[in-house]
Structure formats: structure tokens, C-alpha cells
């Protein structure tokens, strides 16, 4: 974009700056030549380790002699009992930026003050000495930025942005970045990388990207370990300009943690029977809402709706669907083998006062869950009977050995052969066995086979 001006040509031709002309030695051209040489030398320069036909492999499968294998091997001689795992890298970026007072140009020696933006960028790309100091006017700075963007090299773009950040006022920089999308993205990325959260938030605000800003702020909660501080932080998020949906979710997140802190505090010292019989193995803090509901159905079932820890309160506060509620409560109560509670979960009274069993989830799934919690046959049988789909019902009955249901089903299907087969699986003289026997002897039934 910036054409070389006559002065530039003069610069190249003057001997004064000879030290900084491109010496052909490490130019791209010579690199290409080098690559070509490499190519030509390959057949001659074939090596050593490729001779082995069969690879030697250590048990852990790392080929013996591979780099990752050797890192362990050569290091192991001096490793004295220290833990083997890779160190946890502390990703929280240091915030102590002040007083660094660096200038990028001072990183490098040389007085390269007369280079065009184009040349400067080229030098930066090649890791050679350069100076940004001479780009004083706003216009020059922007030319430099545009040139960096034009070569797409993120490394160079970032370096120029750092220079601009130091030498321009925030307002002007933001204004100019708004018209330069690529540079703007790199800038946001750079700020995030450096942990300059505040500035990012400010920038996003200036750009009108308020929702991004809100989410970015919210994300910070992941780095807060202490639960009370996390709760307070979430509270401070409530007023942020989230989308309508997200605002609800963030509100729920806050409410949930607030509740969990209260429940945790009281349950830690709880003395009720259930806590002794089934000691808690972990805290409920930061668990998802469905897990919290399960916990509540396990330890706080039957509490009145007024208490924070009661299932009904949680269900209502967090608008949990009937399906999810039933599934969760069923899991918890079946785990405790409270078949009575299980029963009442599905009981509904109609206007005549009769109770009838209804479920928002298929009864075949109810049966599976009950079986997994080793429910007795009588309980299982009742629910297998409630399965609507006849095929599912039969397969459920077969799977869980609900003999009566199996027998009645075959009887209704008038399937004599299946009854005979099934009889063989039963213990001789058991009541079921006898029942089949009776059916088979019944001359009134018109068998289909």
C-alpha cells in the first residue's frame, strides 16, 4: 500500500545505513536455496535410526528412543521422589503491569528511524532490529498498524498494538480500532491474554458489545474458589446487560449457590438419622441444580415447602419440569428403598377420589430405575403392569421375572407354545409352574398353536 518514496530509495542507496540493508545471507531467497539443498542432500544423508526394521517399544508403548520416552528416562536419574506430574501452570496472569516502563524499541538496538512502515514491518517479521519510536503522528501510527494488518502476522500486529496502547490515549485508540476489525480482534485477544480484564470490559462497552462484556465478566467467577466470594461476585453480575435468557440463568446460578451455602452450613453439623445412616461424602457446593435436588430428595424429603432445603421449594424456585422432578425424586427415594414414597410419587386422585398411577416418564423407565435399586418383585410387578406398550411390558416382565404378568400375557395371546417354553424355566412345583400347568390343562381355552 505505501509506495516507496524517493527518500526511501535514497536511503537504500546511501552507504550510511549499510548495516541495515538486507544481507542476502538470511533472505527468503537464500532460505529457499537452503531448503533445496536440504532436499538434494536427503538421499545421501539418510540416517541411522531408520535402519531398524522392527521398532523397539517399551511397555507403556512409547517407542524406546522416542522423545517423550527419553524425557522421562534422562530425567528419571535425578528425580528424587518429587511428584511426576506436570506442574499445574498458573494461568492467572500477573497483574503487576505498572512500572514496567519498557519500550519495545528499547528491546532492540540500532537507530532505524527512517524506515517506512512497510520496511519496519518486514524487519519485525524477520526478527531483526527495528524501531517504532519514529512513528509519532497519529497518521504514521495508523499507517504502521495497517501495514502490520496487511501482512497478517499476528505477532507483528500485537507488537504494534502494544506500541499504540502506550503512545495513544485510550479514547483515540478505541475509536481507531473500531474501524479496523482485524486489529481490534487482536487487541481484545492481547488484553485477555495479559489479564487486563477491566480494559477489555471498557473496550467492549465502548464498542456497544455489552452482552459480550457481561459474559466476559461473568466468566471470571470460574477463577474464584472461595464460595462466599463467588456468591458475592455472582450477585454483582446480576445487573449486567445479559440477554433476557441469560439473565434468568445467571440469577438462578446466584440463587442456587446462595442456597447451597445455607444448606451446606446446616448439614455439615446435622445430626438427623439419615445423615448417620448415609454419611455425606462431599459437599453440595457448586453442584448443578438437578444434583442439588437429588440431594434434597435424599436428605430433606418431606420437609415443608417453607424450608430452603425442601424438594418442593427447590422445585418451585428453579422451575424444574415435572419430568425432571419425578426422575430425580424417584432415583433418590428408590436408592433409599422407600417404596412408599415411590408409590406416592405416581399417585393421582381423580375427582371421585380414586387413586390412579400416572407418570410423565414411561413406566418402563420407572421399572428400570427401580430394578437398578434392587426393588423387590412385588414392587416391580406393580410398575411393569402399568407399562402401556404390550411389547415393552412383556419384555420388562421377562427381564425382571414377573411370572404372573408373563403368564397372563401369553394366556391372553393364546400362545400355548410360549407357555410351555416358559414353564421349563421355572422351578417344578412352584406356584407359577402350577399355574401354567393348570392353564395348559384348561380345555376351554382355544389355543392358537
Amino acid at each position: 500500500m505505501t509506495r516507496a518514496k524517493p527518500e526511501d530509495d535514497e536511503y537504500w542507496n546511501s552507504s550510511k545505513f549499510k548495516a541495515f540493508t538486507f544481507d542476502d545471507e538470511d533472505d527468503e531467497f537464500s532460505q529457499l536455496k537452503e531448503s533445496k539443498r536440504a532436499v538434494n542432500s536427503i538421499l545421501v544423508d539418510d540416517d541411522d535410526e531408520d535402519e531398524e526394521d522392527v521398532e523397539r517399544v517399551s511397555w507403556s508403548g512409547e517407542p524406546v528412543g522416542s522423545i517423550s520416552w527419553s524425557v522421562k528416562e534422562t530425567a528419571s536419574s535425578i528425580r528424587s521422589g518429587s511428584e511426576q506430574s506436570f506442574p499445574k501452570i498458573d494461568t492467572t496472569p500477573s497483574l503487576s503491569k505498572q512500572g514496567s516502563g519498557y519500550s519495545l524499541s528499547s528491546l532492540f538496538k540500532g537507530n532505524l528511524h527512517d524506515l517506512s512502515p512497510e520496511e519496519t514491518v518486514r524487519r519485525m517479521q524477520k526478527g531483526r532490529a527495528f524501531s517504532l519510536e519514529k512513528f509519532c503522528s497519529l497518521q504514521d501510527k495508523l499507517l504502521l498498524l495497517d501495514e502490520a494488518v496487511a501482512v497478517y502476522d499476528g505477532n507483528v500486529i500485537t507488537a504494534v498494538l502494544i506500541f499504540l496502547k502506550k503512545s495513544l490515549s485510550k479514547e483515540i485508540l478505541f475509536r481507531e480500532l473500531m474501524a479496523r476489525d482485524v486489529a481490534l480482534r487482536h487487541y481484545v485477544h492481547y488484553l485477555k491474554e495479559m489479564g487486563e480484564q477491566k480494559l477489555v470490559v471498557e473496550l467492549l462497552k465502548a464498542l456497544g458489545r455489552t452482552e459480550d462484556m457481561a459474559l466476559m465478566h461473568y466468566k471470571e467467577h470460574l477463577n474464584i474458589k472461595d464460595e462466599s466470594r463467588r456468591r458475592d461476585f455472582l450477585k454483582s453480575c446480576l445487573s449486567l446487560p445479559f440477554s433476557q435468557d441469560d439473565a434468568t440463568h445467571v440469577q438462578d446460578h446466584y440463587t442456587l449457590l446462595e442456597r447451597q451455602i445455607i444448606i451446606e452450613a446446616s448439614d455439615k453439623k446435622a445430626v438427623a438419622e439419615i445423615f448417620k445412616k448415609f454419611p455425606r461424602k462431599a459437599s453440595i457446593l457448586n453442584m448443578p441444580i438437578i444434583t442439588t435436588l437429588y440431594y434434597s430428595c435424599f436428605y430433606h424429603y418431606g420437609e415443608s415447602e417453607g424450608t430452603f432445603s425442601s424438594p418442593s421449594n427447590i422445585r418451585k424456585t428453579f422451575r424444574i419440569s415435572e419430568k425432571q422432578y419425578i426422575l430425580t425424586a424417584l432415583g433418590a427415594r428408590a436408592k433409599l428403598k422407600s417404596w412408599f414414597d415411590v408409590d406416592s410419587l405416581f399417585n393421582t386422585k381423580n375427582w371421585l377420589g380414586y387413586t390412579k398411577k400416572r407418570s410423565p416418564i414411561g413406566f418402563h423407565r420407572v421399572v428400570d430405575i427401580l430394578h437398578k435399586n434392587s426393588a423387590p418383585v412385588q414392587v416391580l410387578q406393580e410398575y411393569v403392569n402399568l407399562i402401556d406398550d404390550p411389547d415393552l411390558k412383556l419384555s420388562g416382565a421377562l427381564k425382571y421375572k414377573c411370572h404372573d404378568i408373563v403368564i397372563n400375557t401369553y394366556r391372553d395371546l393364546k400362545d400355548r407354545q410360549q407357555l410351555i417354553v416358559y414353564r421349563e424355566k421355572l422351578e417344578r412345583d412352584s406356584p407359577e409352574y402350577r399355574k401354567i400347568q393348570e392353564l395348559l390343562n384348561n380345555v376351554q381355552i382355544r389355543w392358537k398353536n
Binding site: 531448503s35 507403556s60 512409547e62 535425578i78 497478517y152 500485537t158 480482534r185 438437578i290
Partner: protein, 633 residues
């Protein structure tokens, strides 16, 4: 150990050799004995280039993993850091350097891979250690030869960076890598592309070429065509479960830098006289590439055809061993013995793959349950009290059919069945607390196949996910929306059916045993990306202009001048060579499909594949997630 690189149409070993040469040169720059301190992430990619023996020849005596504190003592003249340009690593290096013994100074060097970073150097300066380095250099490792027809940048987060964070640094590296490739293999005369990133890479390449105009390579072009494809042109393919052998290995166990780690039980060698030996508990690690004859033969097959191939091989090998009974004369015995090593290698390779196939079969048929359970315990619910996780496990109903059910739902989505309502299967999976990534894969797939979900359906899924897996996943859901994997339906018509029909993405009668179409890799679904590649070769993109317009980003064609005298004179019947570059990652099933096209009798084109990274649905979705405390599979 690079024999796998020779076997393809293009000798990718040239690239490896060039990389090794650079490495040697750098090592020699730091004269004297040295210790390398590794950014652990890099050992995998470097393993594809060199082995320890090469380093040792250049006086590398010790190797350590980069970690905070002091570098373990070692009597060497030089300490060399091999690191990615990352700020957090700079902090560790600064700490290392600062705690070096002042009385016995050693030369310290730093090698940035793949590129120097001014930002990192600045950080080192801030920490007051920049002047301690004798050498600061970069090792350009853009495109790493992975197999005979496969190059990877091994750049894990490239999709996230390009499409979510709008950081195009990895595209710059891709362009640089392509320039380097052209320096070795000649100018590629034709460039095609589809997508924003593709356009961007092509622009960079053209600009870079202009910049060193005059330094034309005098190499006969090896590649006829370069096709640049954006991953976001085809968001669907990685979401589908790959059904090739290699694809399934990757889906289930994960292949990293060409290695897979497997549960050890099936690999315990039964050696006589060692009865009662305890089973190894460490995972079995195997290298997977085409150097292994058997693997090269079966990896791209649909898994349903692998069993037959293995048993056929078993017969051949046991017949070969039987030959010993026929060996009567000394000469015959001698010949038999000379073949033994090869036969034994073949036998152990067969044993390994039979074990792997068994493991996969267990999971895809009866023990899918076990797999889910292990995953759940290991990952998502690690912190849960026992009672919770058990219940979660217990509620995995009829899980033996789960793999099959999941595939059925995927296939329904891909054929456009019921994509506009809430799927009861997904709902059930959420209720069972299946791994979140599985849920996200399915929901995203439904969204992609419906060109966005109805607002009501989307809201429902979101609510269920947040309630079951935690509100913090708001962030992840937002990320998926930003990259277009999850979106509300716009007023625009759902154009997926048109795309599907025009490109024949669904083939009813996919033949898994003797495939006649690429759709065999997903048992019916033909990967969109590979269809685009296929159509480009014949009859050309002009025939699908309409569909190309429906897919995101521009499509384009560029030509690069080839120096006179270097124009390739194709023999009649000689195949063209096309390099397909996937920006944002490629799956093993897509690679299998491209290999299938290369091997087709009348295809006329052979493909070399390059990608920013080898991905699968799980690793891909994981890279877009936003909750660091969770180490999902």
C-alpha cells in the same frame, strides 16, 4: 523410523528431512553439551520429526519437562528451552532462569515453536531475564508429516481461535507452511477454496509470493491443485460418529500425535513360565501409521468389515507359520528362519489389532454401558459423592443399545427426520446425565441439520443442559452459538435438505464391505467436505453453484504462475495430485473418504491431506468449552 512417509504419492519425507536439518543446525548453534527443557506439549509433535538419538548426536545429554522452580541439576554447558510462545510458559522459564546457579553460569537458549513472539520476549524482559539468553530463535514447525499422505499442524485450538476468538494467527502459520511446502515441492499452479478462512489463507499466500517475486523455485510442481476448505463450511461431519476402524479408535480412545493409549487388560502377554504375573495397570500405548502393513490395510475400512479382514489375515499368517513343517532341507529351514522376524511382527500386529477390534466391539455392542459409566465416573462427576454418581450410573437404562440408539438418532437427523422437535432420545440422555459432550454433539447436529432450531426447542435444550450440568455452561452454549453450531432458526428456509439432495449426502444403500462410494465411512452419510472435493475434481464446482452459495463464505479460484519450463507434462492416464487443506481440523473418516477417492480406479486424482489438527466431535466440542475446572474426555 519414517518408512511410512515414503509410501505415498508425494515423498513427504523430504519435508521431514528439512525439519530435521533445521533442528540439527539449531542444536549445533549451542555448542557443547546441553540439556533440553521441554514444553511437554511439544514432545508429541517433535516425536513425529525426530528421535532422541538425533538429539544425542548433537550433544543433548539430558531432557527435562518444563516446570516451576529450579531446573534439575545437570553437568551441561547449555540449557535449551523448547517452548510454544505462551505467556504462562514465559513465567516458568523466568523462574527457572532466575534460580540458575550464579557461580556456575550456563548458556541459556530459547527455541520458540513454531514462531518467535514479541509478546513473549517482552514478558521475559519484564521479568528481567531477557538478557540471560544467548540465543533466541524460532523453529518453524508448521506442517508436520504425519503419514504418507497426511500433514498436520497439530494446532489444537486453531478452530476455536479462528472462528470463536477471531485470532487468525494459525491461518498465518498455515500460509507460511504452504509457502514452505511450495519451496520444497514447487509452486502449486491452481488454488481453489471455500470459506472466509480459506480466502484469507489464499490472500496471504499470494501476498507472500509477490513479496519474494524473483526468488522462484526451480522445482517441477508436484501438486497440481490446492483446495482450501473452511471447517465451518461443513460443521456437520465432525459431529457424526465416525465408523471407520481408525475413526472409531479415535472416537473411543483418542489418538494423540499418532499414538493411542488403550486399556491394558486385553494386551497382557501370556508368557510361559511367568504364571501369576500381575496384570499391567499402565495403559498400553501403540503407534498407529501406515508403516504397519496390517493397519494400513484395515484402518480406513468400515468397522463392520474389519472382522472379516482380520480373520483373513489370521489365516494367511498361520498358514505361513505352518510352512515350518514343510521345511525339510537346511536351505528351506534357513529361508523360513530368515522370514521369521517379519512373520512375528505380522503376528504381533495382528494380535494387537484383534485386541483393539475386540475393545471396540465390546463398546459398540454390549458394553457401551461400561464405557459411559467409566467416562462419567472419571470425568463429569468426579467430585460427586458416591451415592450421586451411583444413582446416575444406575439410571442408565437399557444402555446396551445405547451406541446403536445414538447412531440411529444421528442418522435420523442427517436424513432430516424430526429435526424440528425436541428429541426424546436427547432428553433421556440428559436425564441419565450422559457425558455433556455427547449431548452437545447431538444437539448441535440437530441444529445444523435443521439450519437452526426452533426458538422453543433451543430454549428447552438449553434449560435442561444448564439445570443438569450446571449454569456455568452458559458460556459454552454461547460459544457454540458464536461459531454457528447452535442457533435459533432464522426466517430463512431450511436449506439443508437441498444441500443434502444436491450433494447426495445420504446414500440409502451404503456398502460397508465393498464400498462404491465415500458414504461408507459413516454407514450412509457422505461427508460434505469430501463431496465438495469430489465434485471439484469432476465435474467441477460450476455444477453446484447454487449449493456453494448456501454454504458460508466465498468460493474462489486463483492461479499461480509457474516458471516456464516447469510446466508439468502429464502422461496420458497419469493422475493429478491435489492437496486438500482443512482449516479448523479434519476427521479420520474424512481422510478415509479421501483415500478411498484416491484409490478409485477411474478417479483421476490422488489426494494429499493437510489440516490444522486431526479432530473428532468430542475433541472439537471440548476445544469450544469454557469451564477450565472440568476435565472432560
Amino acid at each position: 523410523m519414517a518408512s511410512h512417509l515414503f509410501c505415498g504419492r508425494v515423498n513427504l519425507n523430504i519435508l521431514r528431512e528439512a525439519a530435521r536439518k533445521d533442528l540439527r543446525e539449531f542444536l549445533d548453534k549451542c555448542s557443547g553439551s546441553k540439556a533440553i527443557v521441554w514444553d511437554e506439549y511439544l514432545t508429541g509433535p517433535f516425536g513425529l520429526i525426530a528421535q532422541y538419538s538425533l538429539l544425542k548426536e548433537h550433544e543433548v545429554e539430558k531432557m527435562f519437562t518444563l516446570k516451576a522452580g529450579r531446573i534439575p541439576s545437570a553437568a551441561v554447558k547449555n540449557i535449551v528451552f523448547f517452548v510454544r510462545p505462551r505467556l504462562e510458559l514465559m513465567d516458568i522459564i523466568a523462574e527457572n532462569v532466575a534460580s540458575e546457579d550464579k557461580l556456575q553460569p550456563r548458556d541459556v537458549h530459547i527455541l520458540f515453536v513454531p514462531r518467535r513472539s514479541l509478546l513473549c520476549e517482552q514478558r521475559l524482559k519484564e521479568k528481567g531475564v531477557l538478557n540471560s539468553f544467548t540465543n533466541i530463535d524460532e523453529y518453524i514447525l508448521d506442517l508436520i508429516p504425519y503419514d504418507g499422505d497426511l500433514l498436520s499442524m497439530e494446532s489444537e485450538s486453531s478452530f476455536r481461535e479462528c472462528y470463536l476468538e477471531n485470532d487468525q494467527t494459525s491461518l498465518y502459520h498455515a500460509a507460511k507452511g504452504l509457502m514452505n511446502l511450495q519451496a520444497l515441492y514447487g509452486t502449486i499452479p491452481q488454488i481453489f477454496g471455500k470459506g472466509e478462512c480459506a480466502r484469507h489463507v489464499a490472500n496471504m499466500m499470494l501476498r507472500m509470493k509477490r513479496e519474494f517475486a524473483g526468488s522462484q523455485t526451480q522445482i517441477l510442481p508436484v501438486f497440481d491443485t490446492l483446495l482450501l476448505l473452511d471447517r465451518n463450511v461443513d460443521l456437520l461431519t465432525p459431529l457424526a460418529t465416525q465408523l471407520t476402524y481408525e475413526g472409531l479408535i479415535d472416537e473411543i480412545f483418542g489418538i494423540t500425535n499418532g499414538y493411542v493409549k488403550l486399556p491394558p487388560e486385553k494386551f497382557a502377554q501370556k508368557k510361559q513360565g511367568e504364571g501369576g504375573k500381575e496384570l499391567p495397570t499402565e495403559p498400553k500405548k501403540l503407534q498407529l501409521n501406515s508403516a504397519e502393513e496390517l493397519y494400513a490395510e484395515i484402518r480406513d475400512k468400515n468397522f463392520n468389515a474389519v472382522g472379516a479382514a482380520l480373520s483373513k489375515k489370521a489365516k494367511i499368517i498361520s498358514a505361513a507359520f505352518e510352512e515350518r513343517h514343510n521345511a525339510k532341507t537346511v536351505g528351506e529351514i534357513k529361508q523360513f528362519v530368515s522370514q521369521l522376524p517379519h512373520m512375528q511382527a505380522a503376528r504381533s500386529s495382528l494380535a494387537n489389532h484383534t485386541s483393539i477390534a475386540e475393545l471396540i466391539k465390546d463398546i459398540t455392542t454390549d458394553s457401551w454401558l461400561y464405557f459411559i459409566l467409566c467416562n462419567m465416573v472419571r470425568n463429569a462427576h468426579l467430585n460427586m459423592p458416591d451415592v450421586f454418581s451411583q444413582t446416575a450410573l444406575l439410571s442408565c437404562v437399557s444402555a446396551s443399545e445405547d451406541f446403536f440408539d445414538s447412531l440411529t438418532v444421528e442418522q435420523e437427523f442427517m436424513t432430516g427426520v424430526d429435526t424440528d422437535k425436541v428429541s426424546t432420545y436427547i432428553e433421556d440422555c440428559i436425564a441419565q446425565k450422559d457425558p455433556l459432550i455427547k449431548i452437545l454433539r447431538l444437539v448441535c447436529m440437530q441444529s445444523v441439520c435443521n439450519n437452526g432450531l426452533k426458538q422453543k426447542v433451543l430454549d428447552y435444550y438449553k434449560k435442561e443442559i444448564l439445570q443438569t450440568y450446571g449454569y456455568k455452561h452458559i458460556l459454552t452454549l454461547k460459544n457454540l452459538e458464536k461459531v454457528g453450531l447452535l442457533k435459533p432458526q432464522s426466517t430463512m428456509r431450511n436449506n439443508y435438505p437441498t444441500i443434502r439432495k444436491t450433494l447426495k449426502l445420504w446414500m440409502e444403500d451404503a456398502n460397508e464391505q465393498n464400498p462404491n462410494d465415500i458414504s461408507y465411512v459413516y454407514s450412509g452419510y457422505a461427508p460434505l467436505s469430501v463431496r465438495l472435493t469430489q465434485v471439484l475434481a469432476r465435474p467441477g464446482w460450476r455444477s453446484i453453484e447454487e449449493v456453494l452459495k448456501m454454504l458460508p463464505g466465498p468460493h474462489f479460484e486463483e492461479r499461480q504462475q509457474v516458471p516456464t519450463g516447469l510446466h508439468k507434462k502429464r502422461q496420458p492416464g497419469e493422475n493429478r495430485t491435489t492437496l486438500v487443506f482443512f482449516l479448523g481440523g479434519v476427521t479420520y473418516a474424512e481422510i478415509a473418504a479421501l483415500r478411498f477417492l484416491s484409490n478409485m480406479e477411474d478417479s483421476g486424482t490422488e489426494y494429499i491431506i493437510a489440516a490444522t489438527k486431526l479432530i473428532n466431535g468430542t475433541s472439537w466440542i471440548k476445544s469450544l468449552m469454557d469451564s477450565p475446572e472440568e476435565n472432560l474426555p
